[in-house]
């Protein structure tokens, strides 16, 4: 894992000190809210429905066990004993007091953490594949490049006041687990015809009010040119991006209005000019080597395949067998495995973890996974490097802390924003609907029978719950009678086969929505052919059968 150097530690410590001073001035009445608001937002501090909310950065979703313990300590000392892992691989605390926020930032700094780039119109925390450095299908570990982007983008003076927030995601594997197509810039590590590894560059993806899949502007970018090319994209956006209308300020709108070809032409022009006039940022091979060395592969001295023992454990424990099938992924090294810890227990708020659970995961990471933990954009946690031979012990330990739910990628593994229970922007609640859906489908056997299915849910059009790219998407809307409504989209997906879901019909009331989800699931199961996932069935049969089953009563 990357360790902060003196420079990193200095700028984080200085930021804490600045914010302590700003907060003291605010509490003393020397700063008005209009003056203070942008300052607190630059430190991830929002004012939500019930209290302040602090969003803490987890750069590219990688955490050490020590950092996880620090997060648990903050949950205990400054919050109500829990935290909420977000759809951007970060963590939020919902019950923060302004007067204590500087102390929280100081506690984070002690653990090499901060809340920089978690809010405001800057380049936000770069996200990536939660299996980075471990996945069997990986071309190269994307994290050194994420770290390079972090160093380049943090406090970059030219890109600190962009027209709007800006999100970058990087994937290094054949299967895109980082949803790069719905980011402002998506980077996909690929191999060229000549055998070199570089980046395929996508721009203008995003969800929210105007959902767009990102469009490719470079099929192959040599690694050494990454920062220069990113800077060229940012410069074109900073120059032409709209600042007069917040709803049209994201880069996706600029790419729409210029056209992909013209946008690419301008980026290439800036990129050439940088080299011609000698102001291109250089990525020195020595610096990349220095960063890459810190992501060296941890290897168990006695990596041990599960073998007959694992087979027997699975045969004797159907629940363990189910968990292995859903929550354990193939590792690039024989005898090792990747464990995803579900934060979606039946009836629980998706993504929440108690301080005790965070400590338990830190303990398991130390014991079994080189002290390394990942967060996922699907709001789960990962132990990336475990021995197959330890899987049974890990599963048992997780079970003691309510963390052994075997539902990864299944109908109850719902991505869900905080919604109206916490968020100032939301139209409707999200978490209680997710809780009711997971209770409806609580039976593990039934979930396994249904198979992989992504339900994603947002409480407002800002789409923090990624509803546009769910097999089943739910968007909270105000109903005319003042009640909560849920608009359903079908057929979305966020991977390399990305698609935006289509609205199926009128919105459902809160009382109707869980039945509606069950109807869609039933229609899918009844119509699917052997081995077909939801997307394949939906694309083959179209929306009509779903519409008929959902709105049959309306016709009568």
């Amino acid at each position: 894992m990357y360790q902060y150097d003196v420079l990193d530690r200095t700028i984080v410590a200085e930021r804490v000190s600045q914010f302590r001073d700003q907060t003291a001035r605010r509490l003393a009445g020397e700063l008005a809210e209009d003056e203070f608001r942008p300052l607190r937002l630059m430190n991830g501090l929002y004012l939500q429905l019930h209290a302040y909310m602090l969003r803490v950065a987890i750069p590219y979703g990688t955490l050490s066990s020590g950092q996880m313990r620090a997060l648990a300590g903050i949950a205990r000392r400054f919050d109500k004993g829990y935290g909420h892992f977000t759809t951007r691989q970060n963590i939020q605390y919902n019950w923060v007091k302004l007067e204590e926020a500087p102390d929280i930032l100081a506690a984070l700094a002690e653990a090499g953490m901060h809340a920089i780039q978690t809010s405001g119109n800057c380049i936000r925390n770069t996200t990536t594949d939660q299996f980075a450095g471990a996945a069997a299908d990986e071309l190269e570990d994307p994290r050194p490049w994420c770290e390079l982007i972090r160093q380049w983008s943090t406090f970059h003076p030219e890109f600190s006041y962009l027209p709007r927030k800006f999100k970058i995601a990087v994937s290094g594997a054949a299967h895109d687990r980082a949803a790069v197509a719905v980011h402002d810039i998506g980077l996909h590590l690929v191999r060229s015809g000549e055998g070199n590894v570089g980046f395929r560059v996508l721009v203008g993806g995003g969800l929210g009010r105007t959902p767009r899949l990102a469009r490719a502007i470079r099929d192959f970018l040599p690694k050494r040119d990454l920062l220069a090319y990113l800077e060229a994209i940012m410069r074109v956006y900073n120059l032409h991006g709209r600042r007069d209308n917040i709803f049209k300020a994201r880069i996706k709108i600029l790419v729409d209005s210029l056209g992909t070809e013209e946008f690419a032409r301008q980026v290439e022009g800036e990129f050439r000019a940088m080299h011609e006039f000698g102001y291109a940022p250089e990525t020195s091979p020595a610096e990349i080597a220095r960063i890459t060395a810190q992501f060296a592969d941890p290897v168990h001295k006695r990596a041990e395949a599960g073998g007959e023992t694992l087979d027997r454990q699975r045969a004797e424990n159907p629940d363990f067998d189910r968990w292995v099938r859903t929550n354990v992924a193939a590792h690039k090294r024989a005898g090792q495995a990747i464990v995803t810890v579900s934060l979606k227990p039946v009836g629980g708020p998706p993504g929440d973890a108690s301080a005790e659970q965070m400590d338990a995961i830190a303990e398991l990471a130390d014991r079994y996974s080189f002290g390394e933990i990942r967060t996922t954009h699907a709001q789960n946690l990962v132990l990336p490097h475990v021995r197959e031979a330890d899987l049974f012990a890990i599963w048992q330990a997780l079970g003691r802390h309510g963390l052994a739910t075997a539902n990864l990628g299944l109908v109850s593994d719902i991505i869900c924003c905080p919604g109206l229970d916490y968020c100032n922007l939301a139209n409707t609640r999200s978490i209680p609907v997710a809780q009711r859906i997971s209770e409806r489908f609580a039976d593990a056997g039934r979930q396994a029978e249904i198979g992989p299915l992504a339900i994603k849910m947002s409480g407002c059009i800002n789409a923090c719950g990624h509803h546009h790219v769910g097999d089943i998407g739910l968007l909270g809307v105000d109903k005319k009678d003042g009640g909560e409504g849920y608009q359903m989209t079908l057929g979305g997906r966020a991977d390399e086969d990305g698609a935006l879901g289509a609205i199926i019909g009128r919105a459902f009331s809160s009382d109707e929505v869980v039945d509606a989800v069950e109807t869609v699931v039933g229609t899918y199961v009844a119509n699917r052919r052997d081995g077909e996932d939801f997307t394949a069935t939906y694309r083959r049969i179209g929306a009509a059968p779903f519409k008929e089953s959902l709105y049959a009563a309306d016709q009568g």
């Binding site: 509490l27 919902n94 923060v96 708020p349 209680p432």
Partner: protein
Amino acid sequence: MSDAFRKAVTANRLADGAVVYLTASGGWSTEIDDCRIAADEGEAAAMLALGEEAAARQLLVGPYLFDLAGDDGALRPARLREAIRARGPTTGSSLRFQAAG
């Protein structure tokens, strides 16, 4: 009575962000049951002015008026958003804001 004019003033307390309500004595309470209820536009405007004054003195953030509904004996926030602010998240845990002390 349900259509009668009924409004109260709420805000977040600066130091800890807690949801507070203007009371009849001119103070600020974390309990919605303590809130002063405006019976007409004039009273509501005067109450909001008190909120803005408290915000100017850096005690509060973002005061505003919200509607109440129901009978006099059982008034409640007219909108779900305000009900959640008053009673806490509806996610099943006991997560209501704990007043200091």
